[in-house]
Symmetry: C2
Subunit: 338 residues, 2 copies
Amino acid sequence: MVTNKKNTIYDIADQLNISVATVSRALNNKTNISPTTKELVLKAAEKMGYEQNKLALALKSGKSKTVGVIVPRVDSSFFGSIITGIEEELNAHNYSVIICQTHGDPKKEIANIDTLLNSQVDAVFISTSMKDVSALERVLKKGVSLIFFDRKKTMENVSSVTINDFQGGYSATQHLINTGSKRIAYFSGDLDLEIFQERLAGYKHALSDNGIEYNENYIFRTESNIDEGKKAAKKLLKLNPLPDAIFSSSDFAALGAIQELRANNLNIPEDLSVIGFANEPFTQFMELSISTVDQFPLKMGRMTAKVFLEQEENPTNMVIHKKVVLEPELILRKSTKK
Amino acid sequence: MVTNKKNTIYDIADQLNISVATVSRALNNKTNISPTTKELVLKAAEKMGYEQNKLALALKSGKSKTVGVIVPRVDSSFFGSIITGIEEELNAHNYSVIICQTHGDPKKEIANIDTLLNSQVDAVFISTSMKDVSALERVLKKGVSLIFFDRKKTMENVSSVTINDFQGGYSATQHLINTGSKRIAYFSGDLDLEIFQERLAGYKHALSDNGIEYNENYIFRTESNIDEGKKAAKKLLKLNPLPDAIFSSSDFAALGAIQELRANNLNIPEDLSVIGFANEPFTQFMELSISTVDQFPLKMGRMTAKVFLEQEENPTNMVIHKKVVLEPELILRKSTKK
């Protein structure tokens, strides 16, 4: 029979007309209960499909062996690979992983944190889009581990695994300069987020190190999707003189730009070089393959899990905090000059 | 102070040296407790960072307002869009969504089901890779709703939202025949799964309706990824005569095939037409855009959520079961002849 409601110890108590405490004693194999009553409870529990679950145990032990992972979106290769890296490492240590996506919306992120805390996770691994950290502090206050990956906030005593976004921005820009570009447009991403601030800082620093003046008009605020790349490219095409390169903080926006530029009969990389960021698989299998910055997401996921496991295995009450910074790698393909 | 352990009602009881039942009575605002003791418990609870959570309430009410979604993988546009469709519909009704991925491994799927049941979800929406249904029956036995989307098993009294995979297979094959192909190779996917059996059945039926004999040698067992498509194409290239078309049950395998065929100086669609399945975004933005079958995943996600909400809102104890079948749509691009 299918019912709409899960049977709980409250239902068993009702059914047998005994106290919840007695039911609990029976189910938890305590001694202060008569064998007859215990038998009765166990039979009723079985008949009613009641299953004492890991969760109820978790409520007592404070450990559920489940980790919650919060990402802006699941359907990019970048975040997908991070999640897979986390799973590989944690599954080997008998942890389960549950995932929530925020679509970059802080309100959804707060709701996700609530859901995960209510699911009694032992840890929250998060790539955050939050402006303030109060919701994140609530995680710590509840005694749940918190670890940042990729999109972090600065919080005391919280570990993080990120890549060196500054370096990624610097190398990409330096490469464009080395191959003759002087008017380098930049597609910025969401500048409220640290990762995008860092990439922009890397871009600016490379310009400055090469004696190229920073030009506000070359900065285009874009979200990380194809349409935003097209829109930014449309605006860029009105500049005179035309930029001779685009460095996009997002592969998706880089792809949109390439489509728009080609639709306007511009040749890539002859007229403009284009570099993206993240090494999404499509950048590789396009006929005009796209140069980009690899962020090693699988490694990032594995490292995040390892940092957590190290904290958990620490026998004392002292908590280890780590800031792990991975080095990005420039991947050169057909969308940039040799 | 950050501790490694969540404080529970057991800790509060310990701290105050009173019974767990008394703590519970205080926190649940019951009357059979002295105001002084109640005050004492509430103060201790606050001090110890104890938060009565939705979960504890869920243990009593049997409702957590959380739905668990299990998919083979999160990082495809197809499953990503389904998840987004589910979220859009459920968030509007104050439900949270947590996601687990199986990588198509039945063992991981069982572990995911456990995790979600332990997280006290009200429903499990699943795209299953399971061979037998016992783990799925356990969901129902616990009074948790179960709904299939895309990859379903035949189970009595369980709703499902799928697309007409047979029709998808049939239309794609029929189109290849209409545009002059006679030797149509088929990349099968995992033939243990109903969706891939149905696509193959559609392919066979279209051949038969057009008086074309079915040829075992034209069937290639592939997984849904680029490498598998390349491998299958390598084998296909040894056939004599060469097939004049490929219908791939996966866009990823179709892409791999296209790369391999072009590396062997074959022209697409002149030498071979290629059709994929799922309308992954890359099929559209390749210079040689790939013909495919759209499965309307956003709609599939929304429908799955709607079927659940309809079941939940049903005031009686009777459960509504629905089989929703969406119609796929053939999308013609440059990889097939006009």
